[in-house]
Amino acid sequence: MYDVLIIGAGITGILVSRELARYQLNIAILERSNDVGNKTTSANSAIIHSGCDPEPGTNKAKFNILGNAMFDELTKQLDVEFRRNGSLTIALSEDQLKALDALEERSKINGVPFKRLSKQEVLALESHLSNNVTGALFFPTAGIIDPFNLSIHAMENAIDNGVHLFLREEVIDIKKKVSHYLVKTKTGEYKSKIVINAAGNHADVIAKMVEPIDWSIIPRKGEYFILDHFAKGFVEHTIFPLPSDKGKGVLISPTTSDNYIVGPSSEPILDKDDYSTDGPTLQSVRQQALAMVPSIPFGKVIRVFSGLRPSSSRHDFIIEYSRSDSRFINVAGIESPGLVSSPAIAQYVVNELVRPLISLKEKSNFNPNIRPYVHLNKMSKKEREIFVKENPEFGEMVCSCEKVSVGEIKDLLVRSCPPRSIKGVKRRTRAGFGRCQGGFCQPKILFLLANHYGVSPLEIPLDDVDSPILTSRIKEVK
C-alpha cells in the first residue's frame, strides 16, 4: 500500500515525488513510457521563462514567478546545466510597439524585472536581429536549461531518497475503494491512499477514470529545428516575438549544449501520441524566425522534432482536488510555462494539497543533492589528465561529435535512473546529439547497453520497447 501514487513521470510528477520524498511516506510513480521526462518534458523550448507573459492572477503567472526564483538552487542540487542568459521580446514594426507597451504593463503587474530598450540599444545587444526591430523588452531573469537532465537527475535524486519508479506502466483503470485507490495498469495493480494525476497530455483520460470532469486536454503541437554548433555568440539571449493568442510564438535561442533551437509552431491536434513533423509547418516556423534574425543558417539544421503542449480547456494550470474526493489530485494542463513553474507547483501540491490529507513527518536523512556527474569538458587540462589516468574508461570516446566517453555512459548505468534505450543515453549525455546524429556512435552505445543489461542486442530499443533497432542476427552458427 502506497501513501501517494503519482501517475506520470514528467517534470511535474517527478518534482512532486521528490518533494514528497522529504517526508516519511511510501511513494510510487508510474510512467507509461520507457524513460522519465520522455514526452513533453523532453520536447519543448527548454526556457526558464521570466513570467512576463502569463495573464496576471492566473495559476500560470503565480507559479511561473515563484518557480523562476527556484532554479539556481535546484540546478545546483541536481547538477543540471542552467544559464540566466536573459530574454528579449522584440517589436518588428511601429504598430507592434503598442503591444510591447502592453507587455511592459503586464510585466509590472506580475512583478517581473525588465528593461525597455530602444532600437539602437537592442541592436547593440544582438547584432544579428532584423533591422525592422523597433524596440524590445529585456528580461534578465529568463534562462535556458537542460530539460532532459533536469527531469532525469530529479528522478534519480527522488529514487535515492526512497521513491519507487515503475516504467512501462500504462494506467487503464482506477477504482476508488473505501480507504484507498486501486490503480490498474496493463501489467499490474497498485494500491495507494492518495493518487496524484500528473499525466500530461493524457491527464483528462486519467481524471475521467475517477469521475466526470468539466475540462479537457487538447494537445497543441510545436515543431522545432535544432542547429549544429557554430560561431558562438551568434545570438546570446533568447529572442521572442510579441505573444499572440496562439502562444509565445517562434523563438530563437542558444541552448545549454551550445546548439541553437528555433521554434515552436502551434497547432491543436487530436491524436495525443502524434509527434510527427511536416514540411509546411516547419517552413512557416522558418519564415517567422527569419523575420526576427534574417541570417539564421538553416543549412546547419541537424534535427527537427515536435512536442505536444498539454493545453487545458481552462487555458490555465489545473491544480486541485477532484470534485468527488480530495485524495485524488489533478495536476493537469501543465503547458508553457510548465517547465519553470514545475518546482513551485510541486511545493504547492505537497504543502497545500497533500499536507491536509496525511501526516508529513520529515525524514532526517533526506538529501537534496545528487552525486555530481563527471564533466570532463569543465576540468582544466591538468585535472582532466589526472582524472582520466585514474579512470581510463573516461579516456575512450564513444561519441566523437559531442565528446562523450565510455566512462560517462557506464556511470549512467550504475545510477538509480539508468537509460534503457538509445534515446535514454542521448538525453543524459548528448551522445548521438551531434551533427552525425548517432551515425557513428549508435552501434557502440547499443552494444554497451546490451552488454550491461545482459540481453540480446535485438532487444535494445531506440525509445519505447516497441521501437527496436535491429531485426535479426545473420550467420547464426549452426
Partner: protein, 415 residues
C-alpha cells in the same frame, strides 16, 4: 609537452597514405591518431569489391585494400595509436587526444594532416516528414551493423538515395535475406555508378524511382510504411503522386559531408566542398595544417583518396623541411557547369605539376573543360561524358602554369 613533427589525424585510407608518404620522404617523428580500434577507416565495413583497380591493377574488397596499407605502416615502423579520438587542435598545432591507456594527452605538432573522413546526412538534415519511429537509419550505419557486427536492421526495406552506398546496401541486404522493395532518388538521374545500378538493382529486380522522394514516414514505435511522392523541378512534392509502401525500414543514402569540426573550431577557411580551402599541396590556409581524403571533398574512388593522401604527406614533408615556398598565390574558381575545384589556391613558385579535381553540376556530354586565366586559355580538354558523381582529374604541367599571372577559372564549354 612531447613534440611530434607530424600528427596525422585519422588512420583510414587518406591518413595511412599521408603517413606512408611522409615517412618515405624522411619524416621519422610522426604519429597516426585513430579513434576506432583498428586502422583502415570506413573500408573496414566496405566488404564489396571495386577497390584498387588503379592503385594495384587488381580488384580488391575494402578490407583487402586497407590491409595493403596497414602492412606498409607496419613495415615502415610508423607509430600509431588506436581508440584515440582527437578532442581538439589549436592554431599553434597543439593536438589533444584521449585514449584509455595514455589518458588525456596533448602533444605539440609541427605539422598536422587532417584525414577524418566524412559523416552521413541524416533524417534531421533532410527534415524527413512524419513520425518519430525506429527503423530509419543511414546506409553507413546499417552497413556497420551488418558487416562488422552481423545484424540486420530490417526485413522489408525502402532505400532513399541512389548514390553508391545506397545501391551497395540494396544488394548486400538482399543477399543477407532482407527484401529491398525499391530505391527512390530525388534527382532525375541516379548519382551512383552505372555498374552499381546494374549489379545491385537490375540483378535483383529492385525498381529505381527517379524524381521521387519520401513525403511521409508512418509508424508507431517501429516504421510501418513510407509514402513516396514524385517531385517537380524545384524538388517540391507533387500532390496526387503518392505511393504507399509498407515496410519496416527506411535506409537513408542522402549525401556525405566532410567531417571538419576540428578545423572549424580554429577558424580554418572552408570552401563550398564543405572541406577546407587548400593549395596544391593540400595545405589549408593555416601553414602546416594539411587535409586530404573525404574530409576535404567527398571521393568516389578510394585509389584517388590514396593519391591525395600521398600529396598531403608529401606537402607536410616539404613543409617540415622548410621547402614549401609560398609567395605568389592565385585562386582557382569554378565557373559555368563546374560545381567545385580542388585545390582552390595554387602557388606559382611551386615546381611541380598540379592535378585539379572537380565535379560538374549536371550530366553533360561532348564538352570542353577550360582552364582560363586573364582571358588566356591555359588548357582545353575534351570530355565525351561527365556526370556529377564522378570526380574528374585533369593534370596541368608545371610549364602550363608557369606563365599564369592571375586567378584561374575552370568551366565547361559546349562543342
Amino acid at each position: 609537452m612531447k613534440i611530434v613533427d607530424l600528427v596525422i589525424i585519422g588512420g583510414g585510407s587518406a591518413g595511412m597514405a599521408a603517413a606512408i608518404q611522409a615517412k618515405k620522404e624522411g619524416v621519422d617523428n610522426l604519429l597516426i591518431l585513430e579513434k576506432n580500434d583498428t586502422l583502415g577507416g570506413i573500408l573496414n565495413q566496405c566488404i564489396h569489391n571495386g577497390f584498387g583497380l588503379t592503385e594495384f591493377k587488381e580488384e580488391l574488397t575494402g578490407p583487402e585494400y586497407l590491409q595493403r596499407f596497414v602492412d606498409q605502416v607496419h613495415e615502415l615502423d610508423i607509430p600509431y595509436k588506436l581508440s584515440s579520438a582527437v578532442i581538439n587542435i589549436t592554431r599553434d598545432k597543439v593536438v589533444s587526444y584521449s585514449n584509455p591507456v595514455d589518458g588525456s594527452v596533448s602533444v605539440q605538432a609541427k605539422a598536422i594532416v587532417l584525414a577524418t573522413g566524412c559523416y552521413e546526412r541524416n533524417a534531421g538534415a533532410i527534415q524527413l516528414p512524419g513520425d518519430r519511429c525506429s527503423g530509419i537509419i543511414t546506409a553507413g550505419t546499417a552497413q556497420k551493423y551488418l558487416n562488422i557486427h552481423g545484424y540486420l536492421v530490417g526485413k522489408r526495406v525502402v532505400i532513399l538515395g541512389s548514390g553508391d552506398i545506397g545501391l551497395i546496401m540494396a544488394r548486400r541486404l538482399t543477399l543477407e535475406g532482407a527484401k529491398v522493395v525499391c530505391v527512390a532518388e530525388i534527382m532525375p538521374y541516379s548519382n551512383g555508378l552505372n555498374r552499381n545500378i546494374a549489379q545491385c538493382l537490375n540483378d535483383y529486380n529492385i525498381p529505381l524511382y527517379l524524381s521521387t522522394s519520401v513525403s511521409r514516414v508512418i509508424g508507431k514505435g517501429r516504421l510501418q510504411k513510407v509514402i513516396l511522392s514524385n517531385v517537380d523541378d524545384n524538388f517540391k512534392f507533387i500532390p496526387g503522386t503518392e505511393m504507399e509502401i509498407p515496410c519496416d525500414t527506411l535506409i537513408l543514402s542522402v549525401g556525405l559531408v566532410p567531417y571538419v569540426s576540428l578545423l572549424e573550431n580554429i577558424g580554418v577557411p572552408m570552401s563550398s566542398t564543405k572541406g577546407a580551402l587548400v593549395n596544391e599541396h593540400m595545405e589549408t590556409m593555416i601553414p602546416g595544417i594539411f587535409t586530404c581524403g573525404n574530409c576535404l571533398h567527398v571521393h568516389d574512388v578510394v585509389d584517388f583518396v590514396t593519391d591525395e593522401g600521398r600529396l598531403a604527406g608529401h606537402g607536410a614533408a616539404l613543409y617540415l623541411q622548410n621547402l614549401l615556398l609560398g609567395v605568389r598565390e592565385i585562386n582557382v574558381y569554378p565557373n559555368s557547369g563546374v560545381s567545385y575545384v580542388v585545390p582552390q589556391k595554387v602557388n606559382l613558385d611551386n615546381q611541380e605539376d598540379v592535378t585539379f579535381k572537380f565535379r560538374v553540376q549536371k550530366p553533360v556530354k561532348d564538352v570542353f573543360v577550360l582552364f582560363e586565366s586573364n582571358n588566356v586559355i591555359i588548357s582545353k580538354v575534351f570530355k565525351s561524358a561527365l556526370i556529377p558523381s564522378e570526380m574528374i582529374m585533369i593534370k596541368l604541367n608545371r610549364d602550363k602554369l608557369a606563365n599564369v599571372t592571375g586567378d584561374i577559372t575552370v568551366h565547361l564549354e559546349g562543342r
